[in-house]
Amino acid sequence: MPRWLVLVGVLCWLPAEAGRRPYIWSFGTETVPEGVVELEQWMWAKSRTPATPTVRSVNWVWWAPVSGVSQHVEVAVPLQLRAGAGRPTVLDSFELDARVRLKPRTSQDPFQMTFRGAWHQPTSGGERRVDLNVISSWTFDNGAQLLLDVGGLLAVSGASAVGTVDLAGSMPLTDELRLGAELFAELPVRGAAGETPHPFVGPSLEWTRGRFWVTAGVLVGLTPLFPQTPHFMPRLMWAVVL
């Protein structure tokens, strides 16, 4: 399988999220309250990569209703649009995404764990895929949080597999504003011979007011050390609670 396809496939991974989330790439351990539906939208981009100059930058739009099914489970049904320089905008894929909390959403314990599983169904080329994540967080009494998200993107055909790891931290600045930072890496495991890890680091800022929240941030690739890593991956996310 061409290396660029694997790279694009990896970067097609758009985690479904819901509820307040101060991180732009990691799934938090927070979920939408039971019986509540949020409409979420993301816009994000992946810049060029020095090692593959023929691969153009890509832009994505992700949209989904996200529903709190129970005190433990949240489900999203996203659709994704993809656009690139000089190429038409296409409906890229649908997903069915479920996140299950180990403890109920009302738990006040500082340690929380969430499991995520998603089915990725492409509509304009690409591989069907299963995404899996295990996310753990520890929240301190002052509201600061540390988080570890370990995941995998597994092509159903078995042709490719990519591991992901995200180490993140956040802290409240005010009741409405939260600052986050992430160290994120994609780790090609299968189907990408010669592909090196793609590490990124970057900040994010989340603002919540009433029924609306928005998170913005950018991941900066450690491209000087890993030339196959894109320079930038900015992301803007927002949601409205119905």
Binding site: P33, E34, G35, G68, T106, R209, G210
Partner: protein
């Protein structure tokens, strides 16, 4: 002394958990302040909660305290619990309720208490209160539903009788502070008391109530009249 002082008082934990077996008793006089500023005595003081601070002790064993949502109202309207106790929120109505609280004592910084929407009858959601203080409860669907959970550092609390008399048990010897609080109180009434082994000190408290605000915001901080038609049905 406002709510901030009340929260500070409730977080005091000055004395170790020594054997707590003494008692204190007394009487609370309840007054209501009218719109004209005049203060009138109230005949029934049975809604006044009296409690002690200055020591921490766990709740006694037994079933979890229960806060019901019944006929679009919370029952009981005031529920005292000990820090660390879990409360069963039971929806007894065959319709959705969404219990929430904007109070800082309800959840960790950066989080809000929101039990989500669930329908009864009989559905239970359990919530643990880990911080002392006053927790105002509302329903995000039914604006008229109001209740209060008072999270205390120890189980030495009691409701006064209609005549204002009360008795607190399980107090450790030493200098403690007793408070009286009721819904509508701008600030709790307080008195210091010296508890000695074998003696039951008598104290007097006066508590003044004011009219409660007629409206409050929903869980997003918005007026209830911004809800779309059929919200919560």
């Amino acid at each position: 002394m406002g709510r901030r002082a009340l929260r500070l008082a409730l977080t005091l934990a000055l004395l170790p958990g020594a054997a707590a077996g003494e008692a204190a008793s007394g009487r609370v006089a309840l007054f209501r302040k009218g719109g004209d500023g005049a203060r009138a005595p109230m005949a029934d003081a049975s809604g006044v909660l009296v409690y002690a601070t200055g020591f921490e002790a766990p709740a006694p064993g037994g079933p979890a305290p229960r806060m019901e949502q019944r006929d679009k109202a919370f029952l009981p309207p005031v529920l005292p619990v000990v820090k660390g106790q879990a409360v069963d929120f039971v929806n007894m109505d065959a319709l959705l309720h969404n219990v929430f609280s904007p109070s800082p004592a309800a959840a960790a910084p950066g989080r809000k208490m929101d039990l989500g929407k669930y329908k009864g009858p009989g559905r239970v959601v359990t919530y643990e209160f880990r911080r002392t203080g006053i927790v105002d409860l509302f329903c995000d669907i039914h604006e008229s539903m109001r209740a209060t959970v008072v999270v205390l550092p120890n189980p030495a609390f009691a409701f006064a009788r209609a005549d204002g008399a009360f008795r607190l048990e399980g107090l450790p010897p030493g200098r403690l502070k007793l408070f009286a609080w009721a819904k509508g109180a701008r600030a709790p009434a307080a008195v210091e008391v010296e508890v000695k082994p074998g003696a039951t000190p008598e104290v007097q408290l006066e508590l003044e109530l004011q009219p409660e605000p007629a409206t409050h915001a929903d869980k997003h901080g918005r007026p209830y009249d911004t809800h779309p038609p059929g919200y919560g049905e």
